[in-house]
Amino acid sequence: MRDSRRLRLTLVLLLLSAFTLTALDFNSAQTGPLAALRRGIDTVFGPVQSVLGGAAGTVGGALGGLPRLGSYQSDNKKLQQTNDRLRGQLAAQSGLQCQVDQLNALMHLVSYTKYRTVPAHVIAVGPSGAFEWTATIDAGSVDGLKDGMTVVTGSGLVGRTKEVSTRTSRVLLLSDPDFTVGGTLIGQSSVGFAVGNGAKPMTYSLASTRSVVRKGDVLLTTGSDTYAPGVPIGTVTTVTPDTNAISRTASIAPFVDVSALDLVGVITDPSRTAPRIPLRPVAAGPKATSSPCAAAVPQGPVPTSTPSPAPKPKPKPKPVPSPSGTPTPTRSP
């Protein structure tokens, strides 16, 4: 028979030590020995995850595509037709875009597609799948990333960085219940908050009861010290009719499908000094002085990286597929 006293003692010790650590970590900030320990483990696991995650992403993409193999041909044809049509539209709109850029330059405004981004691949996800909506990306502090930076794809908001280590960072995805972002509906001035809701659509609560929220309205980030402004979040799917509540709530279907992420961009714009303005005014610099039509071309990339995945100038935020077609970024050491 087993030594049951020793067993029980060990169990109690293990449970107590685990819970003590939890309590300590719960109260500690991003600094301190526990945070250092976490960063150390991240640094060790990071490179292995990059290698495994890159291979796994390819294999997973191939496997995930297998059931749909038959439909690829028809999809291809349809996409080609759409492509042709969009090309025509783009040509027609390039003149219009030029005017918009001129106006923006005059008003010192810039859209989110012009932000400087560091491209990164999603290499892993969080360990407690049902409760945590996080992803690990293969860019870290060496690439200029910091905590609280906005992560985007060509379609819109993905989340924000949390716990940046040397070569990898964790991204809190917009579906995480811990995720909150200030949002403004296009064409309205009132500000509200969108909160992650797990597998369900995000919940958007609007402080003002006077503003009219309609189905299909597009929600943009308001911008704060942690979020870049003007990034599309999603569209309103349902509006909760409330008669006497002091705030309005609506469901937001995000543009980005966080369960199928590959290439993302982290907005590393150094100038985040003008919070709470829907569109960021351009600080004095090359942007304001450059010729208006050249503004259609994305700004020069960050020294550490080549083509940014997100910057795709488009007149209106629309749910477009994630930028899997963009060339794989190469990062110089």
Binding site: R2, L7, T10, L11, L14, L15, S17, A18, F19, T20, L21, T22, L24, D25, F26, L34, L37, R38, I41, D42, F45, V48, Q49, L52, G53, A56, G57, V59, G60, G64, V122, I123, A124, V125, G126, P127, S128, G129, A130, F131, E132, T134, T136, K162, E163, R170, L172, D176, P177, D178, G198, A199, K200, S259, A260
Partner: protein
């Protein structure tokens, strides 16, 4: 012997954790992903008893916690408890094919309950009814499905370690 056991445990735990984060967690499965690490902990508990189960659970949970955004020690507590409980199941001498499945089911439910309990104690906004139900109907059954892949493998590895010194004598 003990060193070999320790090395075996560490190697399998690290491999399982990496697989979990980079491959299994990203599989396009409906609902929440299976938890390979938990199944491994249960397998160790089931093969070697409650002591091995809870120590493996504590260590692997701590590693997973370090690579997460929640507080350290939460999964460590949940997995240690799961390893202990399933280790107690090993007590009986009779062998049946259904027993490992029951052990994984019990371990998964124990770990989920412990994790949710801690979440409620800490006031974690991520722990509410919908994700718990989601884990119960997707993650837990997936874990049970992983049983025949992991439990015999761990049992085989442990048995091999047990046999080795005899061969040398």
């Amino acid at each position: 012997m003990t060193v070999q056991r320790f090395l075996l445990g560490t190697a399998t735990v690290v491999t399982a954790l990496l697989l979990q984060l980079t491959v299994i967690g990203r599989l396009p499965l409906p609902g929440a992903a299976p938890d390979l690490l938990l199944v491994l902990v249960v397998a160790f508990g089931f093969a070697e008893g409650p002591m091995a189960g809870m120590v493996t659970g504590w260590v692997s949970g701590m590693l997973a916690d370090a690579l997460s955004t929640h507080e350290l020690g939460r999964l460590a507590l949940a997995y240690a408890l799961a390893g202990y409980v399933t280790g107690m199941l090993q007590d009986d001498t009779e062998r049946s094919t259904l027993r490992p499945f029951g052990a994984v089911l019990l371990g998964a439910v124990t770990a989920l309950t412990a994790y949710v309990g801690e979440g409620i104690l800490l006031g974690d906004p991520r722990v509410f009814v919908q994700p718990v139900l989601r884990a119960l109907v997707s993650s837990v059954p997936y874990d049970v499905v992983l049983t025949p892949l992991v439990v015999p493998l761990v049992a085989g590895l442990v048995r091999r370690l047990d046999v080795d010194p005899l061969r040398r004598i």
